[in-house]
Symmetry: C2
Subunit: 555 residues, 2 copies
């Protein structure tokens, strides 16, 4: 009945698989029917290592896919029905664009003859995500042109490859479909030959002319394959301190410097020996101050990475080495260069100071929470929400064990955080999400995915009933309108949310209690709430900075 | 300090107000600061009839604005901070585009020098919603060009006017903003002169040459100003049956025909006298079958409306009268034309048949729920969710009283329904939302808005734990994968959701109990759950159609 449609969609599915797609997030709908059913047949009867995830809310679906793609460093496919369903992917696609994640939206569509003519559930879906996608294509899987099969096989594989090529990014494949939509289940699967995109054996030569003094590595958020181990080893061999962004995967480490933003804010940095050169790896650092500091002191900056394009908004990079970090690190490792011991030691010593001032905090608020979380066991996956948590963890979280850390740190939204964390948690034992109450509320629908995927995920909600970050900004001065526009407490009961999703709930009322929870393995869905005060939290942060500054006579 | 910025944003705000904006939905963020604070000052100290609504989840914020704009028929403004926050408006903007609602997104942005250069929270926001907006503009409110103030005054007023001009639709105003963002609160408000877009006094002349036989009005979903009263009166004077789409606002009425889709499905229509001419008003009907029926029987179609563009996906309109419905109806009313009484009576008689077969339904499922809802008191606002509810109400809801009925019937998504209903409920006494469990889950965050806005809203959740509509589609045949891909039960506890939002909860277990609830005025947020079975519901629908057909010997 629908032999050609079936054959062509199978070509599409096998092509996705051939280029490494192993996870597809499907949102229910009617127009998706042939793709969804054949995907189900594929995972049930053809291959053992491809997985379907079902997510009713397409916004959460998008962020679930983002979380999987980001943490597994592989292309992930989303599938939604025509209309606003597909539009709900837009936030995750935008984040994928900013943070270079290979997310592929299969948007099923109404056919050409139903476009812009009053047919229901029909939007103009061509290039739906505009500048947020690396590429978009509309494929007529019901075309009768003889070349269609070969076109689908080539184009699909090419697009998946494009999505994963650095800088990785999102792709839209739009599929207009006419009724009847039912595929022929049980029809033989065609042979689809993989296209090999051969890797080139790149290397770079570095000379040491530009190494005229002390060097620091600035390890920004890592994208793509993990090179943190290599970076840490090279740094250690050459006595190079690593300004270790919380998302760089280089914490803990013998050379890792935590809290650069606080060190700059507190003035501590003025007492430290200046580097002559800073080598930047990865994405834009969480710290807003560190790039400005480089610029202010005219420290030479070498930027490493193929994803460089648009990576220095202070416009202070002197040298760009357009290669992948591992290749650069191999070359650097050949150089006969070591920082002198005093330089490295001085930077290293800051870590005791940071630890000491944090240890002085006695009220159980955001900073003591971060302190407790340094005890997370090795091999924990930790997702950190935007707004206050990512800043606090970047500054004050001196991990005791090797924890993998993730965030949506491209467009920096508070949306989709829980769903992204669910994506991170698949197939992993110990998983945590650190989040504030507003970001938690924003993506509560993601809790449904946590429940359905039967993962272990402990969500630590630091609940100050509103937007805590605004107490730190000039907006705090606008008393008359502050609570209305910025405070925005939602009065959300985390305990009742736990009830709704059959999650375990714990209210942690002391640091000690929290530490015990942090050390225990995560089991099922567990919501831990810590209730804090916005004003107290602001004051504690100020005190910490003051004490940090005083240690160096900068009070 | 920030005098110019303050002056220009005040020009923007006053211009919005001058063109009729009375509701602004603000989502908290930092980049929005000058606009949000000056809006707060404006509503607090300048005018008494402008309202700010705060919504943390921008997707829900967008649909809240859509609900207000749609039901009040006035332009509504959304305000969000840069990054994915603005992208979360995309689903509501797409629906506004499809259903012609004047929704205006103010998207604050990072300035030019931070674009595409690695600055955080910075997307390419120019023309963010692509083809979904009627127009978009980027306004540099910090420009030092002397013409800026006058430009903002003209451009803003022009854009609001454009948004409201039929066919109405969404607009994006993008506002790049540099730090410092704090406006000068208390600075004098400038004089902003309203631009008058004068109405033209249009009229049309109709002759009666084309009135060669019986006429039916097909009243589709109403857009813009309400003309249902006039339509009903003209129809009554000329003995014209009105195929009354559930969204046409013409139910109940002496001439209103309910259930055209069922009448066609059941075969009843074959016994009815054929019209010679059908005059179409409003948007695409909810009934998928009625346009196809017109085409099949080659009944002449006259389409009325300025929003015609792309309104007949069967391509069977013969005459297009590009004027507003009231003008056409005035002209039609002058014609010396009446249907003969038998014709009208035959159509009218179908209503007793529909009522009788529905009354025969004994199991308490979706159709008995619809039956109970016919008792809603006069002047109730009723929002109907997509998927099954809108179809059931279109077919079987013979309202006993004048109820205003709304839905997101453009792109027909299940997203944003609760938020849209909250928008509908503002300043209105009695408000209901009829919704299935999946659409309910999709926009649970909208319940927060219901709680915060302190409205009366009774939400009737017909809970069959999954996608009931798919049991009616060919997909039902794919047994092996059906529940995974289409059934998709979420196991949601409506009672616990009510707990979470401090809502009243009632489980209605009989039609009689539900009728009592329906007759009572809605108070606060109230969730009423009816638990139904997907398979039983499917079978009941089939039985009803069979009985309807049998009444006319079409079994």
């Amino acid at each position: 009945m629908n032999e050609q449609l079936t054959e062509n969609i199978k070509a599409l599915i096998e092509s996705l698989y051939q280029q490494g797609v192993r996870h597809v997030v499907v949102s229910p709908g009617s127009r998706t029917t042939p793709v969804a059913l054949l995907l189900a047949e594929f995972v049930t009867h053809q291959v053992a290592d491809m997985h379907l995830h079902i997510a009713v809310d397409e916004r959460s679906a998008g962020f679930l896919g983002l979380g999987i793609a980001k943490t597994k460093n592989e292309p992930v496919v989303l599938l939604a029905t025509s209309g606003t369903a597909t539009v709900n992917y837009a936030p995750a696609m935008a984040e994928a664009s900013s943070s270079h994640v290979p997310l592929i939206a299969l948007t099923t569509d109404r056919p050409e003859e139903l476009q812009a003519i009053g047919a229901p559930q029909t939007l103009h879906q061509t290039n739906l995500y505009g500048d947020q996608t690396k590429a978009d294509v509309t494929i007529s899987v019901q075309s009768t042109t003889p070349d269609t099969f070969a076109y689908i096989v080539y184009k699909t594989q090419h697009l998946v490859h494009l999505a994963t090529t650095a800088p990785a990014g999102p792709i839209q494949i739009n599929l207009p479909l006419r009724k009847p939509l039912m595929p022929d289940l049980g029809q033989a699967w065609p042979e689809v030959t993989p296209i090999v995109f051969a890797a080139t054996n790149a290397s770079v030569q570095l000379d040491d002319e530009w190494l005229q003094g002390p060097v620091i590595f600035l390890a920004g958020p890592q994208e793509g394959a993990n090179y943190s181990e290599q970076l840490s080893q090279v740094a250690q061999r050459h006595h190079i301190p690593v300004i270790a962004d919380v998302l760089s995967q280089t914490r803990p480490g013998l050379t890792a410097i935590v809290g650069i933003d606080a060190l700059i804010s507190a003035g501590t940095i003025a007492d430290l020996p200046m580097p002559k050169l800073v080598v930047r790896f990865g994405g834009t650092p969480v710290s807003a101050k560190v790039l400005a500091w480089l610029k202010e002191h005219q420290i030479q900056v070498v930027q490493v990475g193929t994803a460089f394009s648009g990576r220095d908004h202070t416009r202070y990079t002197d040298v760009v080495v357009e290669t992948e970090a591992p290749i650069f690190l191999n070359a650097f490792d050949q150089l006969d260069f070591k920082n002198n011991a005093e330089f490295s030691q001085a930077w290293q010593d800051t870590q005791k100071d940071v630890a000491r001032v944090i240890a002085n905090v006695t009220d159980f608020n955001d900073l003591q929470v971060v302190q407790a979380m340094t005890q997370l066991p090795a091999d924990t996956n930790l997702f950190i929400a935007n707004s206050m948590p990512i800043r606090d963890y970047d500054n004050y979280w001196q991990a005791q064990n090797a924890v993998h850390v993730w965030a949506n740190r491209g467009a920096n939204g508070i949306d989709g955080t829980i769903s992204s964390a669910v994506g991170m948690a698949l197939d992993h034992e110990n998983n945590w999400l650190a989040i504030g109450d507003l970001a938690f509320y924003h993506d509560m629908n993601g809790l449904m995915l946590a429940k359905q995927e039967k993962i272990n995920l402990t969500i630590l909600v630091t609940n100050n009933d509103g937007g805590g970050i605004f107490s730190f900004l000039p907006q705090a001065a606008a008393d008359e309108y502050f609570e209305l526009l910025f405070g925005t407490g939602q009065g959300l009961s985390i305990a009742k949310v736990a009830e709704l999703y059959n999650a375990k709930y714990t209210l942690a009322t002391s640091q000690q209690a929290l530490v015990e929870l942090v050390k225990a393995p995560s089991q099922g869905l567990h919501l831990i709430e810590v209730q804090t005060q916005r004003q107290t939290n602001y004051e504690t942060h100020q005190t910490v900075l003051k004490e940090l500054g005083a240690l160096h006579g900068n009070d």
